[in-house]
């Protein structure tokens, strides 16, 4: 049973290794073949030819936070739905109605968010 997961582990390691090897190759080969000469203009962050006006670690819109928080809630709901969906044929009507109640609560929350304007992006 668990040995089925061994290839998955190896594959993740291979994926990481490919990334590491490609970047190492790029850093080394690019340095040799690309005539790398560092200067302050080249090393500065790209800003359409201007010198950088201010630090890039700037304030950003709070709605991105809101999206992230809503995402956590909804992703958790999906995690709850997964086992139910797989077992639906075995748990029959009782399981069906239990999840319908859960979904109804979820929909009420969703409508509340919608009405509150949490989903607006003007």
């Amino acid at each position: 049973m668990l040995e089925n997961y061994f290839p998955v582990l190896v594959f993740i390691l291979v994926g990481l290794a490919i990334g590491v090897v490609m970047l190492a190759l790029g850093l080394v080969l690019g340095r040799i073949m690309g005539h790398a000469r560092a200067d302050s203009e080249k090393q500065s962050p790209y800003e359409c030819g201007f010198e950088a006006f201010e630090d890039a670690r700037m304030k950003f819109d709070v709605r991105y936070y809101l999206v992230a928080i809503l995402f956590i809630i909804f992703d958790l709901e999906i995690a709850f739905l997964f086992p139910w969906a797989v077992a639906l044929e075995k748990i029959g009507m009782a399981g069906f109605w239990a999840m319908m109640i859960f979904l109804a609560v979820l929909v009420v929350g969703f409508i509340y968010e919608w009405r509150k304007g949490a989903l607006e992006w003007e």
């Binding site: 089925n4 998955v8 993740i12 490609m22 790398a36 950088a52 630090d55 639906l88 003007e122």
Partner: protein, 362 residues
């Protein structure tokens, strides 16, 4: 092929290199590695030629001929050498690390982006026996790994210490996260219909004919899943994350050379993955559309590849056809259209399964 490799290369070599107590494990590891390489290399080649196909398809849609200069071995071959020339160029370019960047994170980001998009291929079944990891949590694993790809993007945007990269990463992360939910709900619909998380079992559950495939009972979910897939990979018309007319290239603006191509590879590998998953979950995977007819009706991995190629073509077609969405339109589509549709259709699918509506769920 695999037997030859095991009997004539892996066994003799491991016999010499390892003591007999750990030799079986070494054989298992090497065999797994060989299979992984047999998956990754075709994926890489597909990515290479997908870029070529993209430029050709968009070219012909716009009444141009696309790249046609770089040939192979002295023959022009309609520009068939173009992707190889592009790859060589990218390998030879210097990777510039901006002075204000967080160096470790800057280098880690592409790795975090490519590892999950390759590792997700571990559970893809190519036909009824050819699957690397036949695990029962296949779909859960796919969902987990596709969610991980957002880390690469947000770390790249943060570590670059550039305004364009930062804005691109924020947009991209919010967009991926919003469509992740619609995608997850669509997957739950497939689970309800198939009753299994194993991708092979999901395909077997669609056995019968074209009308037994899940696209029919789950019709709205097919659209939601595929469009979310397009948004998830930041492809046109949802590519505001890199929207070149406003924020240049988005999160990877500071990346060049191979570091850029790692992001590129990850994005295209994800596109191929989404196409494969759409054909596996909704269009019968390796099952033939002509089941019951001799020869043509046999299930084979070529059917899977043909279906996946069609969806890849859709990606390119979308890009050539649709103008870019505005960001508020993207968020509205994800939250206010797709999520209500999927919730409603989950209930419908559950009713179909519980009441056992033929021909799908009897």
């Amino acid at each position: 092929m695999m037997d030859l490799l095991r009997n004539f290369i892996i066994f003799p070599v491991t016999e010499i290199l390892f003591p007999s107590s750990i030799q079986p494990y070494a054989v298992l590891t090497l065999e797994t590695l060989a299979k992984i390489i047999a998956i990754i290399i075709p994926v890489m080649i597909t990515v290479l030629y997908l870029t070529f196909a993209e430029r050709k398809v968009i070219g012909y849609i716009q009444a141009r001929i696309g790249p046609n200069r770089v040939g192979l071995f002295g023959f022009r071959l309609w520009g068939f050498g173009q992707p190889i020339a592009d790859a060589v160029k990218l390998v030879l370019k210097e990777i510039v690390i901006p002075s204000g960047a967080n160096k470790t994170l800057f280098i880690m980001a592409p790795i975090l982006s490519i590892a999950p998009s390759l590792a997700a291929w571990a559970v893809i079944p190519f036909n009824d026996v050819m699957v690397l990891a036949n695990i029962n949590a296949g779909l859960l694993y796919i969902l987990a790994l596709t969610s991980l790809s957002v880390y690469g993007i947000i770390i790249a945007g943060w570590a670059s210490n550039s305004k364009y990269a930062f804005l691109g990463a924020m947009r991209s992360a919010a967009q991926i996260v919003a469509y992740e939910i619609a995608m997850g709900f669509a997957l739950v619909g497939v689970l309800i219909a198939a009753g299994s998380l194993n991708l092979g079992d999901i395909i077997q559950a669609q056995n019968g004919s074209v009308f037994h495939w899940f696209w029919l009972p789950l019709l709205p979910l097919v659209g939601v899943y595929f469009i979310s897939g397009v948004a998830e990979t930041n492809r046109a018309p949802f590519d505001v994350a890199e929207g070149e007319s406003e924020i240049v290239a988005g999160f990877h603006v500071e990346y060049g050379g191979l570091a850029f191509s790692v992001f590129f590879l990850a994005e295209y590998a994800n596109m191929i993955l989404i196409s494969m998953l759409t054909s596996i979950m909704f269009f019968g995977g390796w099952l033939s559309p002509f089941q019951g007819i001799p020869v043509l009706g046999a299930s084979s991995m070529f059917w899977l590849f043909a279906k996946a190629s069609f969806f890849l073509f859709m990606f390119l077609w979308f890009r050539a056809t649709f103008p870019r969405y505005r960001y508020d339109q993207i968020m509205r589509l994800g939250w206010k259209v797709f999520i209500p549709i999927t919730i409603v259709w989950l209930v419908v699918a559950a009713i179909l399964v519980v009441t056992g509506i033929p021909p799908w769920f009897d």
